[in-house]
């Protein structure tokens, strides 16, 4: 970085930083350090005494079948959500890139779900598909499918994945459209003149050139599916039926806040922290670099 022209003030910069730092220390660093500390404590059932147990809570959590189930649920949920949200958005973006007429209108109509809270997205889908009042659930039963996401775990998963991807489509759509616009049209026309069909042009030119966007969205969608979908799970299934839709974040909340198992919950928090750090590192290391390539 070149030496910038700066103001010589000595005290002012600290005052400017003070509000942000104060909030950061009180509401971010202090609680995070508490989570770290508590993850190595075990309290007796009455909360009267606690003792330092090093990594025993982690061992306990990682060997708990319920926790492993929730790891599995989270992976299935995230992969399905990212796959559906990204492929639908890509298809729509490719189509939107072809047309000129009413392009703006399509975009306007496509970005609505971005503004809908995840929890509400979940509820909207629940209105459609819940067994007692949902019109589409009625339709499914009429077709002879025994549909009850409140009792059937896989159906509950399908429902939350649908709601989570529905909400994320608009975000992915905007990024794919921007990515497609950055690809020079001459490149595609040249391939067309050489006789490459539409299908071939897409897979050999467009898709590889979109790789930076796709990779970026993959990271963002994973983070979204891991953390931002708590509202969907909490509002639609409550982790159930059974534990069929209990994701990692929902389990931290449930163990700590509802079941009050503090040590376990803290250990789970720390594991989640490690996951966020890994994802953020990936995002900044690889995504930043690859964007320039694109």
């Amino acid at each position: 970085m070149s030496p910038r022209v700066v103001f010589p003030n000595k005290i002012l910069p600290y005052l400017l930083l003070a509000p942000q730092l104060a909030i950061t220390l009180v509401f971010f660093y202090w609680p995070a350090s508490q989570a770290l500390y508590q993850s190595m404590l075990r309290e007796d059932p009455f909360g009267l005494s606690s003792k330092f147990v090093w990594f025993a809570n982690f061992r306990k959590v990682l060997s708990d079948p319920n926790y492993l189930n929730s790891v599995h649920v989270t992976i299935v949920f995230s992969v399905a959500t990212a796959a559906v949200a990204m492929s639908v958005a890509l298809l729509l973006a490719v189509m939107a890139d072809k047309v000129v007429r009413s392009r703006g209108l399509y975009r306007t109509l496509m970005i609505w779900p971005y503004a809908v809270a995840p929890a509400i997205a979940g509820m909207l889908w629940l209105f459609l598909f819940n067994p007692s009042i949902g019109s589409l659930a009625y339709g499914l039963r009429w077709l002879g499918i025994s549909w009850d996401p409140l009792l059937n775990g896989s159906q509950a998963m399908v429902l939350v994945v649908a709601a989570a991807s529905w909400k994320q489509i608009s975000y992915n759509f905007l990024f794919f459209v921007a990515g497609l616009q950055a690809i020079p049209k001459t490149l595609i026309e040249a391939a067309a003149i050489d006789g490459a069909g539409e299908h071939k042009r897409f897979w050999t030119i467009v898709f590889p050139l979109l790789a930076p966007t796709t990779f970026f969205l993959l990271v963002v969608n994973t983070v979204y599916a891991f953390f931002d979908t708590f509202g969907i799970i909490h509002a639609v299934t409550g982790g159930g039926p059974g534990k069929a839709t209990e994701t990692l974040v929902y389990k931290v909340y449930n163990d700590g806040f509802v079941n009050l198992i503090l040590g376990d919950s803290a250990a789970q928090s720390v594991i989640l922290m490690a996951i966020v750090i890994a994802l953020t590192a990936i995002q900044f290391r690889y995504v930043e670099r690859k964007v320039h390539y694109g």
């Binding site: 022209v5 930083l17 971010f28 779900p113 509400i120 963002v220 909490h234 964007v291």
Partner: protein
């Protein structure tokens, strides 16, 4: 290929590129329209449900067209109070949510622009340390520190207060990074010129930096307003009282599939009222929003 024409091609019409067929364009329109129908259907369905009576909703399938209870249902929800959430009218919830969303958006913008200003335009001891301190908060979302943060809120007496709903969410590494990135593109000559003309740090900030940051601020405002409006976990933790709920949390409380007495028509109205304001913000400020989103996140 299109025939050679003396007129310039009218913008807004589909022009065929080499290798494109008219049928392909029609297919593209068809796929887009289908996509939009799927995207819009859940919202449309909820709107239709919000204009029917409870009895109609309880007997699926629901008619595809709006009913005649629009005024009654919305009036009842907005001003009448909803039984399951302690008789709080949805109007109160809307007010709470607006305060929270605006507070978060404005608060985040103010504290981020100040800290980015300090980091870029001043040299002081610990500058990089503070920068990293802010940057690392990216990796500490509420979700990973639920309980200890809740405990801090209880100790500070911030449960069921607007301060509690807003302040912990306004520290933002993303916004600070964005402003920092933008400030770094401002040429040093500008600062020098300002200093030669006798402008102090405050004058420079107010008369040069703020006007230059207008588009960034607008873009960020939309994104942060949506962020604030759609919060779930945080308001769930820090509100107990029904009249301090945000609309999203209240909606969750209103629904029960076990009980037969869920007032579905009011649930539908509340859903619409929870969805429409942020959608309006996004659609009306679309230009800034799309630019801000696509540029800031990369």
């Amino acid at each position: 290929m299109a025939e050679p024409s003396t007129r310039p091609p009218a913008s807004g019409h589909d022009k065929l590129m080499i290798g494109q067929s008219a049928a392909g364009i029609w297919l593209a329109h068809a796929v887009l329209i289908l996509g939009i129908l799927i995207v819009a259907f859940p919202i449309y369905y909820t709107f239709v449900a919000s204009t029917h009576s409870l009895q109609t909703i309880l007997r699926p399938p629901l008619p595809l067209l709006p009913g005649d209870r629009f005024v009654e249902n919305y009036w009842e929800a907005l001003f009448g109070g909803v039984g399951r959430i302690g008789g709080v009218p949805v109007g109160t919830l809307l007010l709470n949510t607006t305060i929270v969303a605006l507070g978060i958006a404005v608060g985040k913008i103010i504290i981020s622009i100040l800290s980015a200003y300090a980091i870029v335009f001043f040299r002081f001891r610990g500058r990089m340390f503070f920068f990293w301190l802010i940057f690392i908060t990216l990796m500490l979302p509420v979700e990973v520190r639920i309980l200890p943060t809740y405990k801090v809120m209880v100790d500070l007496g911030l449960i069921d207060t607007y301060t509690g709903l807003i302040v912990p969410l306004i520290a933002s590494a993303t916004a600070t990074l964005l402003f920092r990135q933008f400030f770094l593109t401002i040429p040093g000559e500008l600062v020098e010129a300002a200093r030669v003309d006798g402008a102090g740090p405050w004058r420079f900030f107010k008369d040069i930096l703020l006007p230059l940051s207008r588009t960034n601020i607008a873009a960020l405002f939309v994104i942060l307003f949506i962020y604030g409006w759609t919060q779930y976990l945080w308001p769930l933790l820090v509100t107990n009282r029904n009249d301090m709920n945000t609309i999203v949390i209240a909606l969750k409380k209103m629904i029960s599939f076990a009980d037969a007495d869920t007032e579905w028509h009011l649930v539908m109205v509340t859903s619409m009222l929870a969805i429409v304001p942020p959608i309006l913000v996004v659609v009306l400020m679309q230009r800034w929003f799309v630019r801000g989103l696509v540029e800031t996140e990369k």
